[in-house]
Amino acid sequence: MTTALAAPAATPGRAKSLPGGRILLGAAVPLLILGLWWLVTGPLNLFTPTQLPAPQRVLDAGLGLLEDGALYAHVGISVQRVLFGFLLGAITGLLLGSLLGLSRLADGLLHPTVGAFRAVPSLAWVPLILLWVGIGEDGKVLLIAIGAFFPVFTSVHSALRHVDPHLVEAGRAFGYHGTRLLTTVQLPAVVPPVFSGLRLALAQSWLFLVAAELLASSEGLGFLLIESQNNGRVDRLLLAIVLLAILGKTTDALLGIIERKALKTWA
């Protein structure tokens, strides 16, 4: 009998020749943009500071806010809201997606309703949330959770519907059913698609955070945006946007690391 070692051994030669090469490659365009930005605001002087302040001034604005502790508070509360909202939405999505994905009865009963709710553009809930919950912390977290819920729900639901029926039958034939079948066969099988859903949900969470904070808030990055707009502080406005980009990318990368670990174990 021959050994068919089909495991892809990657391409060691190329991977070793460029340590961190991909990071350098990915950083090229942002650095280029930064250079252009500096060029058109500084030496070329094409824009007034109220139109487009220089990178240095944005950095100064950040350092200024850092000194009086305001930046820390803005970032902290925004991250907290995203985290809570994402967790609430993702957990609800996992539970409801599992229920509808596994039970034909629950699917028949609830899927049309969930589908109808999904058809409502999520921001349309804002006025209702304002009236019912108020736009305090609870309202914001709820809005973010709504944004995070649907990608997770959809991915779990459809992945569970498409688990290889052969594997499920084999599991049943060896005496697995109910929760044991779920944790032994069905959940591990859906790990890869569920992670795509989770990453989409995280991006949605940041989107809905800004929406919630733009509407009504006294702190947070969305508040910093709207306040800077009102005060004509374009430097702070750009700062908030850059921070959102960095935070969004960082949280996505963290989730990506967890995803890679999970895929190594489950796929």
């Binding site: 068919a4 049943r172 005496g175 066969v185």
Partner: protein, 280 residues
């Protein structure tokens, strides 16, 4: 059709006579299977009808028939994977139950969980009431038996199709089934690997003594492995009224049989004729 070199066979014969005493933990209490007027229809279309026979404990019965004749359907019914049949199937002294614990199925595809190592896949077949240490030593023995001890840490995608089927066989044996149900388990393998798997199955049967029901469309495989061959088919070539027992024949000779034996030629051509194929 294929035939193995005679040298190979003699070696194997020697190997399996040496191990007459079954090791404690892979030995099973083999059970009888009684079919009483079993039939099955899907959406009003009859696939199987009036199947009656008794398989004695420890016997190897091959279920032979052309594709779509209901061989697998019959096997699934014994395993409790299908409850839509009519008539009675009795295992030992009680009727078959849903996902019957007294049986174990070796599917046509290995159906291993791709995210688990071979060892963890074999563990899947262990009965739940077994202690952890007992389970581990049984898995060790089975991996040894199917020759996968060295590769137990690998994932299913890292091994060949033949090895995957051996892992699947070990998983089925892990619950010490009273009846082992094999659904064309070697059908997707290449000819040479298939012969080796047949020898392995005989070895396993010699060691465990379990009753084996083997679905196959390979006449030579049936002749090589079975005590008796159940030929399923319809009247003539039309199967509109469903397949039933066309013939039930005992295979002469003691296993392991010589693959090149001439005394089976008559039976072989009869079976081919029964399948509607000319053996010439």
């Amino acid at each position: 059709m294929t035939s193995a070199p005679a040298v190979d066979r003699r070696q194997y014969a020697a190997a399996s006579t040496q191990s007459v005493v079954p090791p404690e933990s892979v030995a099973a209490e083999s059970l009888s299977v009684t079919f009483n007027d079993v039939g099955r229809a899907f959406d009003g279309r009859t696939v199987l009808r009036n199947v009656s026979l008794t398989v004695t404990p420890g016997e190897v019965v091959a279920i032979l028939g052309s594709s779509g004749c209901g061989k697998s359907t019959l096997l699934r019914a014994v395993g409790g994977l299908d409850e839509g049949f009519t008539g009675d199937i009795v295992i030992g002294d009680s009727p078959v139950t849903r996902y019957d614990e007294r049986t174990a199925v070796g599917f046509q595809e290995p159906r291993l969980l791709p995210w688990r190592s071979i060892r963890k896949n074999v563990e899947l077949g262990l009965p739940r009431d077994l202690s952890k240490s007992e389970g581990q030593s049984r898995v060790d023995e089975l991996l040894e038996l199917v020759g996968l001890a060295e590769r137990a840490h690998l994932r299913p995608r890292e091994i060949s199709g033949g090895m995957a089927q051996r892992a699947s066989l070990a998983r089925a044996l892990a619950r010490q089934p009273g009846v082992l149900l094999l659904d064309e388990p070697f059908g997707a393998l290449d000819a040479l690997t298939r012969l080796k798997m047949q020898d392995l199955l005989l070895d396993v049967h010699a060691k465990t003594g379990t009753t084996v029901l083997l679905v196959t469309h390979d006449v030579n495989e049936a002749l090589q492995l079975a005590d008796r061959i159940l030929l399923l088919g319809g009247r003539g070539t039309a199967t509109a009224e469903g397949a039933t027992v066309k013939s039930l024949v005992s295979v002469p000779g003691i296993r392991p049989r010589d693959r090149a034996a001439t005394d089976l030629a008559q039976l072989r051509s009869e079976l081919y004729a029964g399948l509607g194929v000319s053996s010439r």
